[in-house]
Symmetry: C2
Subunit: 335 residues, 2 copies
DNA sequence: GATCTTAATGCAAACGTTTGCAATAGCGTT
DNA sequence: AACGCTATTGCAAACGTTTGCATTAAGATC
């Protein structure tokens, strides 16, 4: 079994130095002679010694932890199932680790109302990355103005008192829609939820292109919950009631696009011959579906890096600004 | 801006009691008069007071944190992209929170070799949930025999010195394969990686059913990396070199199944008329693909709850045993 | 050889909780 | 009036680091 936990003092005794020296040695403090440092570090390794993070955090008043707060709209407790969001979290995780920080995975359920108190005063994390602006914008705003180091994954165009990193959703909407038109679409349909911050920008992009092409009369908006199931259902229903009165879909996300695609395929509407489809996100499934899905790619890896970098800069006391990530059109069979 | 952080002593002073009383009051210790307790709790709320978790952990020698260690096979640093794994993590997160614990998201990159030292001695977490047995079984074994509270998501049939929670993969393989045969399949193909712990069991289930039906001669194994891309590539290549010499596929995961499906559809092989397909996991995409994918559903929510429950039981000092989750066949259009 | 400088190390306080034990107050019993 | 009992509360130590300051050792300078 495990022998009793070594503390720094024990290690120091073994090495025949004081705890201060041991501490400094482990932190590679140049005050300590190079040789001594190496000796103690080696000793620590052979004895499987680890510093007590709790003690260290108490003394240093910082945690080397970044909290990631997944901001679910749902009032209902439920796990995330959009693969895109999960990908974002996973890429943040990587970026966080690469900077030598650890990642506390949290959500509004744990953090309660007073995020500043919970995370910062509570010494659970040094800063927070919020994934998804959702409807809790009030909580974000409050935490931010309380001085909490904070970066949000959302739409950078949002006018807010906090730093936002996100794709250029407006441009993405334009590119996607323009692509539809270029491919001959005359009756474009937007499938999504314009109330939502990021998706709303995509819709605005859609509208601007449609207007420029004088197609406003023939364009449509189909408002749905942003799940593939809802997309499937509502396209189905629309086909039943209105028939096929559109020839191109810009879906607000890939999951939504895939749901719509399924409904169309079941009714033998040919993609891309009868209806063109463009999605958003570029999740793994976009490439694997049949026909494969044309989409707007969001660079989640870059996103993760940028979110973390901006947060660390804030922690260092410097001012930071929101920024927008470039998007790119990935052309596949559905268009 | 933020006024200076209140400490327990300050709150106590405001309330006109000692810190001990304040501490006990916040922890609802019955030593303190009911009335006093309520008064102090209310005061804490109005002043946005939060206990310093670092100090608390130092003193208590426990963290109320559970670490989730994602055990990637890949030597290459890379983010996870199998939606199923992410779903598992997300459901663990929920279960962890429901028990009043927090979730530290980690991976072998951060934890290094000496997991016990890093998590337990380092006072970063009270216990660890490992997702995926992967190839690091040695690290797991070592941590476990060092006495680390630990539960692994994997295949419960594995003979190992640690507690495992997982689906009945063998039975799942049998059910899936039997279903193929019931639907008239005469030349079943297993698509996956039999070396892998969980997938290997699925393959064994496949074999046992095939044997019982005297189809061993006509059954095939196609060994691939477990990504949809690899599945797509290898089915493509197989069609080119061998032609269509199978009429049913049991894919080791839904992502793999979807990759295979795409290859088949591109060559106008009809699903389910020419080839039946059954997957494993029941990710969201299984329902949305066209044709929708018959699959073996794993109950990730139950998994999350069970993993956490078993870990907490271990923390309480009791012995725990591995256990198997029931699986179920979800029949859709692909079969 | 006394003094100064520099390099390396040690001492002890502080971070903010929790808790065993001691202390106090209030009240009934003899 | 002294005592014992119970219900509350307070005192002070301990958890294991880190770091400002003091100290020591060793070499350099006059």
């Amino acid at each position: 079994m495990q022998q009793k936990k070594l503390k720094l003092a024990d290690l120091a005794k073994i090495a025949g130095v004081s705890t201060s020296t041991a501490s400094r040695a482990l932190n590679d403090n140049p005050l300590i002679k190079q040789e001594t440092r190496e000796r103690i570090q080696k000793l620590a390794k052979t004895h499987n010694f680890s510093l007590n993070a709790a003690a260290s955090r108490l003394r240093l008043q910082k945690t080397k932890v970044i909290a990631v707060l997944i901001n679910l709209d749902a009032e209902t407790e439920q796990s995330i199932d959009d693969p895109f969001l999960l990908k974002v979290v996973s890429d943040i995780n990587l970026a966080v680790n690469r900077q030598g920080y650890e990642l506390l995975l949290s959500n509004s359920y744990m953090a309660g109302e007073d995020w500043y108190g919970y995370f910062i005063d509570g010494r659970r994390a040094d800063g927070v990355i919020v994934v998804g602006q959702g409807k809790q914008q009030a909580s974000i705003e409050r935490a931010s103005s309380a001085g909490m180091p904070l970066v949000v994954w959302g739409d950078p165009k949002t006018q807010a008192g906090y730093v936002i990193v996100g794709s250029d959703n407006f441009l993405g909407g334009q590119v996607a829609t323009q692509h539809l038109l270029d491919k001959g679409c005359k009756q474009p349909l937007f499938l999504g939820e314009p109330e939502h911050a990021e998706l709303g920008e995509r819709y605005k992009g859609f509208c601007s292109v449609v207007e420029r092409a004088n197609l406003t009369e023939r364009a449509q908006l189909l408002k749905i919950d942003i799940t593939s199931q809802a997309a499937y259902d509502s396209i189905n229903q629309k086909l039943r009631s209105d028939g096929l009165d559109f020839d191109g879909i810009f879906a607000c996300s890939d999951m939504v696009a895939l749901g719509a695609m399924k409904a169309l395929k079941e009714r033998y509407v040919s993609i891309p011959n009868d209806v063109l489809i463009v999605g958003f996100d570029d999740i793994a499934m976009a490439d694997v579906s049949f026909p494969s899905l044309t989409t707007i790619k969001q660079d989640t890896q870059k996103a993760g890096e940028l979110l973390v970098e901006k947060l660390l800069t804030q922690l260092a006391g410097e001012e930071v600004e929101s920024s927008q990530l470039a998007i790119s059109l990935v052309e596949r069979q559905s268009s």
